[in-house]
């Protein structure tokens, strides 16, 4: 879908995403994970059962880095802070990135399979 899609194609594509779990990243660095319910031409997105995630704070990252150092580990692990929000509307202007969650088992492409999950978390 690199060329501009027709209206029918566009509708079909968006419909295929309805009720899937989206990860919407906002301009202020937060990420919202919820069930996709609705959108419009301004890219306003409605998510239900949404959780808000924040990148760990600088202080937390520093603590985590110290632990990694002491354990001689290559990766630094820090939890993202999350909380439940429920039904939300994210105005299109505040969206920087949209991701859809898929089951790894249903994805054929090897390149995606090998992609590392960027959110290294135990929660």
């Amino acid at each position: 879908m690199n060329e501009a899609p027709t209206k029918a194609e566009a509708e079909a594509y968006i419909k295929s995403l309805i009720n899937k779990t989206l990860r919407v990243h906002a301009t202020d660095g937060r990420m919202f994970i919820g069930t996709f319910k609705c959108t419009d031409t301004d890219r306003n997105i409605v998510l239900s059962l949404t959780y808000e995630y924040r990148q760990p704070s600088q202080q937390k990252l520093a603590e985590a880095a110290a632990i990694a150092m002491s354990e001689n580990s290559q990766t630094v692990k820090a939890d993202m802070a999350s909380r439940y929000l429920g039904l939300i509307v994210i105005p299109g202007e505040h969206i920087v990135k949209i991701e859809v969650e898929e089951f790894a088992s249903q994805i054929k492409s090897r390149s995606i399979w090998e992609r590392r999950d960027i959110y290294s978390s135990t929660r």
């Binding site: 301009t27 039904l87 509307v89």
Partner: protein
């Protein structure tokens, strides 16, 4: 609420679709929505708009950091600890006053820090450094205080949830999924507080005696609070013991008030930013700022009421119990919702009344006291009679059916009376209808609990207290109150006669001679019943006479144009009557008069003003006599649980008495002004033109100023007495 998704589950991949998505929505036409077919736009309105600062508590300002800027491990001066504890006290009270935790205690970074997962491990309570320097002692004091506070909140919240209250109207129990030490034993928390207290009391020279005393009283307050709200043990204890922690707190709060000046506020230890980590779709809300003085005033009353509410355990009888609840709740300001909940807990928790009595005991006691002293109905041995035709079996099973039917209704009434005043009125309106259904069923048992009429009176009286009625409606509403009270008086009269007959029968049965007295226990039961009937009679009679007097006075004021109906372009008297009487219209007995009948009764249009005022004067005078007798009744005669309840009862009667006196004054002021006006007409030779029934135009000729007191300004909230003054 679903658990947070595991965002790094290996089986789930996140695929970036930003570009596809963007170009797809670009192809949609303006205003077009693509949505889940079950999702309605109506729902989306309730959605939280992200990045909208009014709604999204998580939105950050330009350059604002996500990090918590406040370091909870930073070292604090002892003065700063006092400052923080006092601020926590204000927030705690704000919560008790009905604000959510998110705007009160959960704005404290210390409370927040202690609630983080991992912080609540058991060893936290025992990990007390062996060498307590001041650097180690102060954090211990702060931590112990906070734990004590959190645990108190948990217990208060649980207690609230078990009883009837109105969420968000009276109180907010939402804990935003935070752990308020639900699983931590109270003993562990008290242990920590005790350790902090012991350490504070140990001799040390690093801070002043005053500071140390201030910290001590605050820690002690937390210990006493936990003791005070341990209701499970309190309700079985009628000794003075359960009152001790409340009394202790009452003293401590005085000390805390005096020590407050020692503290140094630490405003940065409180932040509404913490709301963005709470599980809530609520938009960000400001912190509730209660001044320290207000907070202390509330706490003083809170502890006083907590102490007094325990008096209810000194049960002496159903009538004094009802009196207690009524008078306790009529206090101005009303006791805080938690205290009212404690009262409910003591009254009914687990269907055990006041920790000692069964529902049956209370009901039997009530019926026997009010209508059936020494009735065979309460003989428990009858329960064992199995012969169906035996009258004892019939009586026992009849009573059992009766109890089953009225128990809920009876306890509902007590529960209703524990609510906020507006709710008391509203719920009573529903309650009277249910009584009526019962009344028809249990009519064969000569006892009717008399509650419906009295409840209907309360509804009207609460209407006055809550300023439901406009001044031009007072005449009508007081008249209706008079009707109800008169009916109740008639009912009591019948019961009195029955009781007298039953007493005579008992004498004959026991062969007691005319001048001899009945056996002590029987005589006592009869005399209690008769005293109870006498009391309700006085109450009904005073209400009857006083409301009659006020109704007539307001009628005269209305006729003379001193009380004017406001312009009501769409209202009619009949419609307003229908509205005001709606709660009573559905009760078949007593039947509601039609509007026309009612209007004629109230207006007495052919009775001259002079006569109206004359009758009013007589009625108010009679009420005054009755109340003067009330004021002199002692604790037993007035069915008061104890001296406190008695003094509350007497002061209520005195307020009513003052209201009658003020009414008499108003009546005579109006009478004189009216007479002067008539004289002037006579002097001008226009005597023949006078309309003896009064007309609104006379308002200007009477030379009077009328003031109708606002709620709380009068002598008594149920008796609104107009103040008339002569203009110069």
């Amino acid at each position: 609420m679903p658990p947070p998704p595991n965002i790094s589950h290996p089986g789930i991949m996140a695929i970036d679709i930003t570009d596809q998505f963007t170009s797809a929505v670009g192809a949609l036409s303006a205003g077009e929505l693509v949505k889940d077919e079950h999702f309605t736009l109506f729902e989306s309105v309730s959605g939280l708009e992200i990045m909208d600062r009014k709604m999204d508590s998580g939105a950050l300002d330009e350059g604002e950091s996500l990090d918590e800027e406040y370091d909870v491990t930073r070292s604090l001066l002892p003065e700063e600890i006092i400052g923080i504890l006092d601020q926590l006290l204000c927030l705690e009270m704000a919560w008790h006053l009905g604000y959510p935790l998110s705007q009160t205690l959960l704005t404290s970074v210390y409370i927040d820090a202690l609630m983080k997962p991992g912080f609540l491990d058991a060893d936290d309570f025992t990990s007390i450094p062996s060498d307590l320097s001041m650097e180690a002692l102060l954090p211990l004091v702060l931590r112990a205080y906070c734990y004590g506070l959190i645990k108190s909140c948990f217990i208060v919240n649980e207690c609230m949830k078990e009883e009837l209250y109105y969420e968000e109207e009276d109180f907010v129990t939402n804990t935003y999924e935070r752990n308020f030490l639900g699983d931590t034993p109270v003993l562990a928390v008290k242990g920590l507080l005790q350790t902090a207290l012991t350490e504070l009391r140990a001799p040390r020279e690093d801070f002043s005696q005053e500071i140390r005393a201030a910290l001590e009283s605050r820690i002690e307050l937390r210990i006493a609070f936990l003791d005070a709200i341990d209701l499970s043990t309190i309700r079985n204890d009628t000794s003075e013991l359960p009152k001790l922690p409340w009394k202790r707190m009452r003293h401590l709060i005085d000390a805390i008030e005096k020590q407050h000046a020692l503290g140094k506020p630490v405003p940065e230890a409180f932040s509404t930013k913490l709301q963005r980590r709470l599980a809530s779709t609520m938009p960000p809300r400001p912190m509730v700022s209660l001044s320290f003085d207000e907070c202390i005033t509330h706490f003083k009353r809170f502890f006083q009421n907590g102490n007094e509410v325990l008096d209810v355990l000194q049960y002496t009888g159903p009538h004094s119990l009802l009196n207690f609840v009524l008078m306790f709740q009529a206090q101005k300001p009303q006791p805080l919702v938690f205290i009212r909940t404690v009262l409910q807990n003591l009254l009914f928790k687990d269907m055990v009344v006041l920790g000692r009595f069964s529902v049956r005991q209370l009901l039997d006691h009530d019926v026997s006291l009010n209508v059936l002293p020494c009735g065979p109905h309460f003989d428990r041995s009858f329960d064992d009679v199995e012969v169906m035709t035996d009258p004892r079996h019939k009586l026992a099973s009849g009573m059992e059916v009766f109890r089953h039917r009225v128990a809920d209704q009876y306890f509902d009434l007590l529960r209703i009376l524990c609510q906020n005043r507006c709710r008391v009125r509203r719920t009573l309106c529903h309650h009277i209808r249910e009584w009526d259904a019962l009344e028809a069923d249990v009519g064969e048992i000569e006892g009717h609990l008399q509650a419906p009429l009295h409840e209907m009176e309360w509804i009207v009286q609460l209407g006055f207290e809550l300023r439901v009625y406009q001044p031009d409606e007072f005449a009508g509403m007081y008249h209706y109150l008079k009707r109800l009270a008169a009916l109740r008086a008639r009912q009591i009269e019948q019961v009195k006669q029955t009781t007298t007959r039953r007493e005579e029968r008992a004498r004959r049965h026991l062969n007691v001679q005319k001048d001899d007295s009945l056996p002590l226990d029987i005589a006592h039961e009869f005399s209690q019943s008769k005293q109870c009937q006498r009391m309700t009679m006085i109450d009904a009679a005073c209400t009857w006479e006083f409301s009659d007097g006020l109704s007539l006075l307001y009628m005269a004021l209305l006729r003379l144009g001193l009380v004017k109906p406001p312009p009501r372009p769409y209202g009619t008297g009949a419609l307003r009557y229908e509205l005001r009487m709606r709660p009573f219209a559905r009760v078949p007995d007593p039947p509601l008069p039609t509007y026309e009948e009612f209007r004629q009764e109230v207006e007495l249009s052919d009775v001259p003003v002079v006569d109206v005022l004359h009758i009013a004067e007589g009625a108010v005078g009679a009420a005054r006599k009755g109340l003067e007798a009330c004021v002199r009744l002692d604790q037993d005669q007035s069915f008061a649980i104890n001296a406190t309840a008695h003094s509350r009862w007497v002061s209520n009667a005195k307020d009513c008495l003052r209201a009658t006196i003020a009414t008499s004054v108003a009546i005579s002021t109006l009478k004189h002004a009216y007479d002067r006006m008539i004289e002037r007409f006579r002097d001008e030779g226009k005597e023949g033109e006078v309309d003896k029934c009064g007309k609104p135009e006379y308002a200007d000729l009477l030379n009077l100023k009328i003031e109708i007191p606002e709620p709380g300004d009068g002598y008594h909230d149920w008796w609104i007495v107009p103040k008339l003054t002569r203009l110069k």
